[in-house]
């Protein structure tokens, strides 16, 4: 009993360490003033100013969704191809696919700068930024799809072919539905990674193009006048992100539990 109490206490402490800073931020996002620790008056002032950073938020979301979509298509096809190619070619591609996963983002980003330099292109461009994010995320899609391919009954594809499906039909109607959960996990992972990225965006994005990461970095690390002015707005943004995430997590879990219950009844 006492052991259980201490065990729960430890988990509670670790969770407190993670959540206290976020809760402080949430509380002060409703403060009229902008200094933390000085409570002036409850207000939604900073939420009203969220419009000031809408470009930054839009840039971040568009970058994440578009790059994750391309990474998912590329990575899923790559994973299927990789899984069925034996021999040296498969090994080499598999090895290369692991490099961006373990490589530090700094090196990935700088290596891409060198690529654009050597072909004589501008090293900061939207194209380069998207390429950077796809390099970062596509290998994670591959890593989430491969386990589903391993679980899949390999005779399904052959059965579909024997029953007269063309390879393309077999792929879309048989293989794809089987690995869809992995594809979805890969996509979500790609979105998270892209949203969380700072270094690649800072190195490859066109000057003046800010995502949440780079804009907040300017506010907390460089503490330029304009950027610090916006800190309270980012408190409001954090609150909004936290609430959205929390609702998604709760809703999806309640739904999953309902489905599990229904299956249990059957």
């Amino acid at each position: 009993m006492i052991k259980k109490f201490f065990a729960r206490g430890w988990v509670f402490l670790v969770l407190a360490f993670i959540y206290i800073p976020i809760f402080i931020l949430i509380v002060y996002s409703f403060n009229n003033g902008k200094t933390i620790g000085v409570w002036e008056q409850f207000s939604f002032k900073w939420y009203g100013k969220l419009g000031e950073i809408k470009d930054v938020v839009l840039n971040t979301v568009l970058l994440a969704v578009i790059s994750a979509t391309i990474a998912t298509i590329l990575g899923t096809l790559g994973a299927i191809g990789l899984y069925y190619s034996k021999g040296k070619f498969g090994k080499v591609v598999n090895g290369a696919s692991q490099i961006p996963v373990v490589n530090s983002e700094v090196v990935t980003a700088c290596a891409l700068v060198m690529l654009f330099m050597i072909i004589g292109a501008e090293h900061r461009s939207l194209f380069g930024l998207y390429v950077g994010h796809i390099v970062l995320t596509a290998p994670f899609v591959v890593l989430s799809v491969i386990p589903k391919l391993k679980q899949m009954d390999s005779s399904l594809y052959e059965a579909a072919l024997d029953l007269g499906a063309t390879p393309t039909q077999a792929l879309f109607k048989v293989v794809l539905p089987e690995i869809l959960p992995g594809v979805f996990t890969g996509f979500m992972l790609a979105v998270t990674l892209s949203l969380d990225d700072y270094i690649i965006t800072a190195t490859l994005a066109p000057l003046g193009y800010d995502t949440i990461s780079t804009a907040v970095y300017k506010a907390i690390a460089l503490t330029t006048e304009k950027a610090s002015e916006q800190v309270p707005i980012y408190r409001a943004l954090t609150t909004v992100i936290f609430i959205i995430t929390l609702s998604v997590v709760v809703i999806s879990n309640v739904r999953a539990q309902k489905i599990a219950k229904r299956k249990g009844v059957k």
């Binding site: 430890w10 988990v11 670790v14 969770l15 993670i18 959540y19 800073p21 976020i22 402080i24 931020l25 002060y28 971040t60 590329l74 096809l77 790559g78 299927i80 191809g81 990789l82 190619s85 070619f89 591609v93 290369a96 696919s97 961006p100 373990v102 490589n103 530090s104 983002e105 700094v106 090196v107 990935t108 700088c110 290596a111 891409l112 060198m114 796809i134 390099v135 989430s144 491969i146 594809y157 072919l161 996990t185 992972l189 998270t192 700072y198 270094i199 190195t203 949440i212 990461s213 970095y217 907390i220 460089l222 800190v231 980012y234 943004l237 954090t238 992100i241 929390l246 997590v249 879990n253």
Partner: protein
């Protein structure tokens, strides 16, 4: 028992479809061609360029000047050393906090463990720079100064969950009867931990360490935000500075390439020491 008539039919079918496939010129493994091309163009070739730029000067002729410059510059060398030490310290602190947490979670009832896991994962959806900002505001609120200590706390704060997740997934898969067997055979609890639980959870420890150690060395966002006037910086900053400079312009590509090459070597050495990357733990904490 083979049915000859069926066998012949099947063969005919197979022949037909094989020829169809052949005409189509398409097989499943060709699907990975776009991805393979993408990797060659944007991963392998750029890494070769890192080596190329490291061994050339601004005019493109062969030179080891940048290596000599890096290895004879005490400030840069000490940044490298400090990065490795800080990364080790952060990894160790994360491990010390995460291991008991993961172990407790793995022994909870399925339902409670699931809720706790969700509680750990949810904040990870908040951008990591925003989380760093939250930590910085906490430091302001309780009047703690910026500096080395602040940097380390912030790094642990940002990377802790990446350590908990692989540890949890290893511990939950572990065969619990082995621990019980060791207890039955007379080992005390400490002995059970050191000679059964710990060795069996090594894959989780190693993947967690890989997810913390290398990123910390390049995570200059945190150190820039928390170093104050007397804190440390990490090696990632040295590389990035050559490519980003003060206003986002290139400074010294060749010099940056040398440090990037050093980082690559550190990466390969740590990969080799930990026995490569385990794909089942690739979640970076968000993949359940």
């Amino acid at each position: 028992m083979k049915n000859p008539a069926k066998e012949i039919k099947r063969e005919a079918f197979e022949k037909e479809f094989k020829s169809k496939r052949f005409n189509f010129g398409f097989s499943r493994k060709h699907l990975c061609i776009p991805y393979a091309l993408f990797l060659v163009l944007f991963v392998i070739f750029p890494l070769l360029l890192v080596v190329f730029y490291a061994f050339t000067d601004a005019n493109g002729s062969f030179s080891v000047y940048n290596f000599i410059e890096f290895f004879s510059n005490p400030t840069k060398l000490s940044t490298l050393l400090i990065s490795v030490l800080v990364a080790l310290a952060v990894t160790l602190i994360c491990l010390i906090i995460a291991y008991p947490t993961a172990m407790i979670l793995s022994k909870m009832s399925k339902h409670t463990a699931f809720i706790c896991l969700m509680l750990f994962i949810t904040p990870m959806w908040i951008n990591f720079v925003l989380r760093a900002m939250a930590m910085k505001e906490l430091f302001y609120l309780i009047h703690l100064p910026m500096g080395s200590f602040a940097s380390i706390v912030a790094l642990v704060y940002d990377f802790l969950t990446f350590m908990i997740m692989p540890l949890y997934s290893t511990l939950i898969k572990m065969d619990k009867s082995l621990e019980e067997a060791a207890l039955d055979l007379g080992a005390n609890k400490v002995k059970v931990f050191t000679s059964v639980t710990l060795p069996l959870s090594m894959p989780g420890i190693l993947s967690g360490a890989m997810m913390v150690f290398l990123p910390v060395m390049s995570c200059y966002v945190i150190t820039d935000a928390f170093r104050g006037n007397n804190g440390f910086s990490v090696i990632g900053k040295l590389i990035a500075w050559n490519f980003v400079g003060e206003n986002g312009t290139l400074v010294n590509v060749n010099g940056g390439a040398v440090i990037a090459l050093v980082m690559l070597i550190i990466m390969f050495v740590s990969m080799w020491m930990t026995g490569g990357f385990k794909s089942e733990n690739a979640g970076r904490g968000t993949n359940l």
